[in-house]
């Protein structure tokens, strides 16, 4: 059969997903950039005197280099120091929201796909409904009404709206996976539904869930920054979105305080880009055809 060569490639790739992933250039480069950004932020964040985060700790509107690495804001804060707080916070939003969304989605998708029947019908409609509803609208609705929430609450809210897409795709995956021979063999070996899902199916979803997680991560950081720019962000904690919010509030673009708004923007883009590379890496590992092209 024509799929034989490809299948052969898949056969070989079962050497281990992690092995395969760490060999993928996009995955490693993306992951390295991401981790480097996060670690630098975390470590330098720990070394910085917390009082230096306060407004007025530095002269206002200094361009980069003059005493501070990335310049200062109109509120007299160091942009670099803000970044050390903003990157981990934004990453935290992404992590929590993506985890909530992916776990919720995976659960719903699994249940819907594996058990089928009426449960499936109801869940399917629910998934379809939430997929076609502009979730940002609801996010704004909730964020506007629960003003002043912190990073974690924010992430939870975003995560609560991030499940439909993974649910739909997990469901499709489970539908096809559960017809696979090894699932039947597992049933004959006496495994029950939950064991099959966890032991037999989960590993096969791994790459896919990984890719989805990264995607949800990106979407969550994007949503957070969007809400923040509208002034609905976590106001007491610094995130990349809040940095942009403050920069816009002080019309940094117009005042040509480019370091102020460009720093979070570039960080955000680097974050997205690195995560997207990781995402492509996951994709390529689970779909070897994509790999042959550069």
């Amino acid at each position: 059969m024509a799929v034989a060569p490809v299948q052969d490639a898949i056969v070989e790739s079962r050497k281990g997903v992690l092995w395969e992933l760490q060999r993928n250039r996009k995955f490693t480069i993306g992951g390295a950039i991401f981790l480097a950004m996060l670690l630098i932020a975390l470590i330098s964040g720990m070394m910085i005197d917390p009082d230096l985060r306060k407004s007025g700790s530095f002269p206002q509107r200094l361009p980069p280099g003059e005493g501070t690495l990335f310049g200062t804001t109109s509120l007299g804060q160091s942009v670099a120091i803000q970044l050390t707080e903003a990157i981990p916070n934004s990453v935290q939003v992404g992590l929590i929201a993506a985890a909530v969304g992916t776990i919720l989605g995976a659960l719903i998708g699994f249940v819907s796909g594996y058990f089928g029947g009426k449960v499936d019908n109801v869940l399917r409609i629910l998934i379809d409904v939430f997929l076609s509803v502009p979730s940002l609208l609801f996010l704004i609705l909730i964020a506007a009404l629960l003003r002043g929430v912190g990073v974690t609450a924010m992430a939870l809210i975003i995560g609560a709206f991030a499940w439909p897409s993974p649910a739909r795709q997990v469901r499709a995956q489970v539908l096809s996976l559960k017809e696979r021979g090894f699932v039947q063999v597992a049933r004959l070996s006496g495994m029950n539904g939950m064991e099959i899902i966890l032991i037999e199916l989960m590993p096969h979803m791994f790459q896919w869930l990984g890719a989805n997680f990264v995607n949800a991560f990106i979407a969550a950081v994007l949503a957070e920054s969007g809400l923040s720019i509208l002034g609905l962000g976590p106001s007491r904690e610094m995130t990349l979105g809040m940095m942009i919010y403050w920069a816009l509030n002080y019309s940094a673009i117009f005042q040509n305080l480019w370091w102020w708004w460009l720093a979070p923007v570039i960080t955000l883009m680097a974050l997205f880009l690195s995560l997207y590379l990781v995402h492509i890496g996951f994709d390529e590992v689970s779909n070897p055809r994509l790999r042959t092209e550069g």
Binding site: V11, R14, R180, Q184, V185, G190, M191, E200, P203
Partner: protein, 348 residues
């Protein structure tokens, strides 16, 4: 005496398309019985889509019949207690078609062998479990050092399929359902798996339902054979009789279509369908009528019954309507009768 496994007039209908409106009768009015008295290999052959796999899945309890019931030691599979179910799983096992698909590629081969031991508590200790595995592998002619500790893709197709057989063997079953166990395996490896299967009957006294579309291998290893056509039994009986002297026109077509690996024995021409065949109604009458070279008027009216053309065989064809009919649920009697007779095995 209750049979080990009994299919009582089962029918399976699949719905597909929007709202499951398009119905496929995958298996109709099928009855069958496996006793524990004497190990037998029963072949099930038929063209693609004739319901072979469906039958297997029904017997294994992986699918529920639309009508009728499958019983394990007299108990309906749908209502087994937990202990009954565990016993059923142990006594009735399976080997599937695709030796790669049957393995979870994330785990070593050992996973496949250890799981049933763990789930059915077959061993008291690790060492005992290991011994069980070694025995099972030995029984199918595999050396542990070239199987255990490896990933599925590191084994050849034949080895993988034999591990599957060993897995079934571990549970010390009474019956193994093998759905096309060799169709995905290279010619040079096929014989090893078939030999392993035959060993099950001869050395371990395990009955086997051997599902295949390859009449040649069925002929080689089976005692009895059931020929399915579009979900119903076309012909059933002793394998040698069925192959050498098919009574149902479909079986005849099947046998004559087999390409002989001999350049000097060319295919005969496919017989022309009869003049009446064109008027056959797909919803009524014999399902084969539309392709049948012998179709005549009665064939268009109703599905024929099983006619017992001789002691060890019956065919669902009006050509034999003079022979006594055999109720579907008596089919197993015929098979048992066939096996009961001590006919010398054809050996080389």
């Amino acid at each position: 005496m209750t049979a080990l496994l009994e299919a009582d007039d089962i029918t399976k209908i699949f719905g597909s398309g929007v709202g499951r409106r398009i119905e496929t009768v995958a298996l109709r009015d099928f009855s069958f019985r496996i006793e524990t008295t004497r190990p037998l290999i029963t072949g099930v052959v038929g063209e693609s889509g004739s319901g072979k796999s469906t039958m297997a899945r029904l017997l294994l309890g992986l699918e529920e019949p639309t009508k009728g019931a499958v019983r394990y030691r007299g108990a309906d599979l749908r209502h087994l207690s937990n202990t009954q179910r565990a016993a059923f799983r142990r006594e009735v096992q399976a080997v599937f078609q695709d030796p790669f698909e049957s393995f979870n590629s994330f785990y070593k081969v050992d996973h496949m062998l250890e799981t049933p031991i763990r789930k059915f508590k077959l061993a008291a200790s690790k060492g005992e479990a290991h011994q069980l595995i070694l025995n099972a592998l030995g029984a199918v002619g595999l050396r542990p050092e070239e199987t255990l500790g490896r990933f599925p893709h590191q084994l050849s197709g034949g080895q993988r399929q034999r591990v599957m057989v060993a897995r079934a063997l571990l549970l010390n079953p009474k019956l193994i359902v093998a759905d096309e166990p060799v169709s995905m395996i290279d010619a040079s490896l096929r014989a090893t798996v078939l030999t392993a299967l035959r060993t099950l009957r001869d050395e371990f006294g395990i009955s086997l339902i051997y599902i295949t579309h390859d009449l040649t291998t069925a002929f080689q290893i089976c005692d009895d054979i059931i020929v399915l056509y579009r979900g119903y039994v076309a012909e059933v009986g002793d394998v040698t009789k069925v192959v050498k002297d098919p009574k149902h026109p479909y079986t005849q077509l099947l046998v004559s279509s087999i390409p002989r690996p001999d350049p000097d024995r060319q295919w005969s021409e496919e017989p022309e369908p009869s003049a009446l065949a064109g008027t056959a109604n797909p919803d009524k009458g014999c399902l084969f009528a539309a392709r049948c070279p012998h179709a005549f008027e009665p064939c268009l009216r109703a599905i024929p019954q099983l006619y017992r053309t001789d002691a060890r065989r019956a065919a669902t064809c009006y050509l034999h309507q003079d022979a006594p009919t055999l109720a579907l649920d008596q089919m197993d009697e015929l098979l048992m009768a066939a096996s009961g007779e001590t006919e010398p095995q054809v050996t080389r």
